[in-house]
Point group: C2
Chain length 211, copies 2
Amino acid sequence: MRHISHEQIKSFERLYRANMINSCSGYKSANIIGTLSAKGVENAAIFSSVIHMGSEPPVLGFVMRPATVPRNTYENIRNNRYYTINHVTENMVNRAHQTSAKYPDNISEFEETGLTPLYRADLPAPFVKESPLQLAMKFMEEIPIKVNGTILILGQILDIYCEEEMMHNDGFIQLSKFNVATINGLDGYAIPELKTRLSYARPKQKLEELK
Amino acid sequence: MRHISHEQIKSFERLYRANMINSCSGYKSANIIGTLSAKGVENAAIFSSVIHMGSEPPVLGFVMRPATVPRNTYENIRNNRYYTINHVTENMVNRAHQTSAKYPDNISEFEETGLTPLYRADLPAPFVKESPLQLAMKFMEEIPIKVNGTILILGQILDIYCEEEMMHNDGFIQLSKFNVATINGLDGYAIPELKTRLSYARPKQKLEELK
């Protein structure tokens, strides 16, 4: 195995280090966050940092770097308090990645990339129509991360919109049914195939495959 | 599409809700965290919440629920300050999942599951020998999440041990080369196939595939 030391990591050129360290945590979620600006501009931005924080209440978090690209997302969420999280599928990968370009504030990434904004009920934020799993979110709290100046945004899941075929009888949502993507590093898009679901683990008890 | 409302989510039976909400964030990383107790017991625990927090310094986070299973992991990290993060591959999935069983404090999950502890340099925490990507970590900070009582643990990557074949010339680590797993929900294990790497996105510029 190759050993990369702390000193080497420090000495790497910026993009080389970003490629490596972004690959280190493992596979990441692929989501488009949809928001609306105070001036009514629809914003879409890809994120690979959405994580499950808890089920009761249903809370998801995501990490943002306030000084970089998706700053509109942050401002819109703080002003408006509502946003959407939409899953990226294999055939949306290019359009989703393109949302990371630095467009001016008055330009909608939906228009520029060809993704379709969709409004549901009275949520003041656009969903991504092409997405098979769409979440209506309400901002809860922002947590500043002192060690590097990032921010963890916490939000509550209000509503779930999901293609019927993805839903199992026990609540499980099978992402592979619609070729939902996962992100490796900064720019790698992979499509997973579900291999198994395993029973609740107990000492000295053989695991079973859930059907 | 099926619409699941906030009221329905609240009313769901506990496991049904956990299955659904755990699937909602998208694909999650599959890692085993290795620690050593004050009494020298080797601990291994699977986590699906490891996330990239930043590359400069190289920081990963993970979320834990102090009241549940992997409490040993928390205590060991707080006592000892060092731990390892090891990626789970397809052929390790059953052993990795089995580490989530509630073993007594004096029992090592390595012994019980057949995973092999490995020590490198003088890090006081076991790596998982079977893993193709292993990280030496140093505890930085714990951040209490008030909304649900979870804790975000931040740690710095000290050393990376990686199979040569996974490493690209630009720093990218290709997880699919060794069939690294990703987690869907509480108990679904999927294996991704890398489809593309896309160039840095700029307005009005066509994306290119990185080779």
